[in-house]
């Protein structure tokens, strides 16, 4: 079985034209991060070889006249047998040209995802009161795309980049869950879409959302956004198994080089105050008294939820107070790399798993199982965790990956027949 990992860096000038920059790429870095109640964020940095002056502005090089800020970028990878999967998509936020000598130069692009770019937009009107109740994931799409019914424009959305097309690009939100948050969109003040998402929408439920892909459509581009609703369980789950390779790896396991196990006391929340944006319902404060007796109050307050019933306000308060009241000694991050994988594994399942791990769509907010043995422990410890951040450093010779993790017990919901998330007195109800 051949283990391989192939990267490709390309940008779209329009839906018919994509330009492959892989051969110029000296290195690249990707960070994908999510947090519950917050919008996910993806950033990337691409360092291109400009020794020939191909990218020097106002020069004669092939790319000297490209307006980098209007292009749609994709960084993608593939395993030996899989198809290309998108690790990052976004647009350029900064360009840096480093001239070392007349024969050596580096051209660096800094990129951010579409939620960051479009979220800066200030909506000229309040988010329509005509869209009174929608699932949160659909409402997220409407905030960018607008809402039109029977020819009447109730809310025009925000200005999205055209990326060389005749039509604005659009957001395509996606959610696969067994329980939905319904939100009311009444009385949102005129303001920035990013503030609506972070202060109103994602704290309701709560949930999180992150960019996964950029795809071409008829005459326009579609930005794909994945929404995680309040049960926190993905219905399309992957399980990545990481091992310290102290024993023989089983099929699909990915070996890691380093592990960091720490207390997560900074994440403890044992009290939450929640109220809706309109103050239509009663403010609810929920407290985990067992936790506050040990640690004192660690309160969070969300007073701008777009909940549509008192029970939904209560759910927000109970969510935070019930889930995060325990300080745990847990795996915070692990480091692995393609070279480590290739040395330890001759397994096609691990080959494909490694490729998918390096993406938002298949890697972020997925389940991870990590085995480790620490001094003082008589046997191997196996932890069930959730992937909250993936940092990827790409060079021509290797790909380094740092994965930051959260305890699965706090960040997944009870699942019938599951040996890991169906445990009484341990796993939580959605």
């Amino acid at each position: 079985m051949t283990i391989s990992l192939t990267w490709r860096v390309k940008y779209y000038s329009n839906t018919a034209t994509s330009v492959d920059l892989t051969s110029f790429t000296q290195s690249a870095g990707i960070d994908i991060e999510v947090g519950i109640g917050l919008a996910g964020r993806s950033t990337a940095k691409i360092v291109l070889n400009n020794n020939t002056g191909a990218f020097t502005p106002n020069g004669t090089g092939t790319y000297s006249s490209v307006d980098w800020f209007k292009q749609g970028f994709i960084i993608e990878n593939k395993s030996s047998t899989g198809a290309y999967v998108t690790s990052f998509c976004g647009m350029v936020s900064d360009v840096n040209i480093e001239i070392i000598s007349t024969k050596e130069s580096r051209f660096t692009l800094t990129l951010v995802d579409i939620m960051t770019i479009a979220g800066r937009s200030t909506a000229t009107t309040s988010y329509s009161a005509f869209i009174l109740s929608t699932p949160a994931w659909q409402s997220l799409g409407m905030m960018f795309n607008g809402y039109t019914d029977s020819g009447t424009v109730y809310y025009s959305g925000v200005d999205m980049p055209y990326i060389g097309e005749a039509n604005e690009s659009e957001v395509n939100t996606f959610c696969v869950t067994d329980a939905l948050t319904y939100v009311t969109n009444d009385d949102f003040p005129a303001g920035r879409v990013g503030d609506w998402i972070n202060n109103n929408l994602l704290v309701t439920g709560p949930g999180t959302a992150f960019c996964t892909d950029l795809k071409t459509s008829a005459g326009k581009f579609l930005w794909y956004i994945y929404y995680i609703d309040y049960p926190l369980n993905r219905v399309d789950p992957e399980l990545y198994k990481f091992s310290d390779a102290s024993a023989a790896l089983v099929s699909g396991e990915i070996p890691y080089e380093a592990i960091d196990v720490q207390y997560n006391f900074d994440q403890v929340v044992n009290s939450c105050t929640a109220q809706d944006q309109r103050s239509f319902y009663t403010q609810t404060t929920a407290t985990d008294t067992v936790s506050t007796a040990k640690y004192g109050i660690r309160n969070v307050a969300f007073n701008s939820t777009c909940t549509q019933a008192q029970a939904d306000v209560d759910r927000v308060a109970y969510f935070w107070s019930n889930r995060y009241g325990t300080s745990r000694y847990t795996v915070k991050r692990i480091k692995t790399s393609y070279s480590t994988l290739k040395q330890a594994v001759d397994n096609g399942v691990a080959d494909q798993a490694f490729s998918k791990l390096l993406t938002a769509n298949y890697g972020i907010w997925q389940r991870a199982q990590v085995d480790y043995v620490a001094p003082g422990l008589s046997s191997q410890t196996t932890e069930q965790l959730m992937i909250r951040k993936i940092s990827i450093a790409i060079t021509p010779s290797d790909t380094d990956v740092v994965i930051e993790l959260l305890p699965g017990v706090d960040n997944q919901s009870f699942q019938l027949n599951s040996s890991t998330y169906g445990i009484l007195n341990t796993n939580r109800l959605a």
Binding site: A286, D314, Y318, R428, L429
Partner: protein, 180 residues
């Protein structure tokens, strides 16, 4: 802890809460077509002391037939009675068993399948007498029935049959009452 079955979103589902669930489905048996008897699978066990049985939708080939109950393979030592009252007021009466071969559990429908028989069974798995009491509606009759199987046999199954002809369709659902 919220009083079951009211749960708060995000709370831990505890063993104590699950142990407070009072009734659990044990089995559901679908009755075939034109059968003389129906015997359940293993439904009685040490998991529960007492059970609720609901039989519904049974159609008999004979008019005004009654359903009869046996535990295991035991065909003697049954003591009990059944009261019946027609909603027309035309007929009331009782059927009795005094060391009989089975127990009456109510009249069943001939054509409509509207009948329902609901009864509790106490101690079928224990090595002591097994007693029942319940009510029914079928074939325009309502009534109650009760009785006992007066032996120290431990049973795991029961059988129903009509006192004439065959039966078709309907279901036998058995629930266990949690008592620990």
């Amino acid at each position: 802890m919220a009083t079951p079955p009211v749960f708060s979103s995000g709370s831990v589902l505890t063993a104590a809460q699950m142990n407070s669930v009072g009734m659990w489905l044990v089995s559901k048996t679908t009755i075939g077509s034109a059968v003389a008897t129906v015997t359940t699978g293993t439904v009685f066990s040490s998991d529960y002391d007492n059970y609720r049985v609901i039989i519904r939708g049974v159609k008999t080939s004979a008019v005004n037939a009654n359903l009869l109950l046996n535990f295991g393979a035991t065909v003697t030592g049954y003591y009990g009675s059944q009261y019946y009252d027609a909603y027309t007021g035309a007929t009331t009466g009782a059927n009795r068993r005094n060391n009989g071969a089975n127990l009456y559990i109510g009249a069943a429908e001939n054509t409509l399948g509207e009948d329902v028989h609901s009864f509790d069974i106490a101690n079928p798995f224990l090595a002591s007498s097994t007693s029942i009491n319940g009510t029914y509606y079928g074939a325009s009759y309502s009534g109650w029935f009760g009785g006992t199987q007066a032996s120290s046999t431990s049973f795991t199954t029961f059988t129903i049959r009509p006192d004439a002809g065959t039966i078709t369709g309907g279901t036998i659902t058995v629930y266990g009452y949690r008592s620990q």
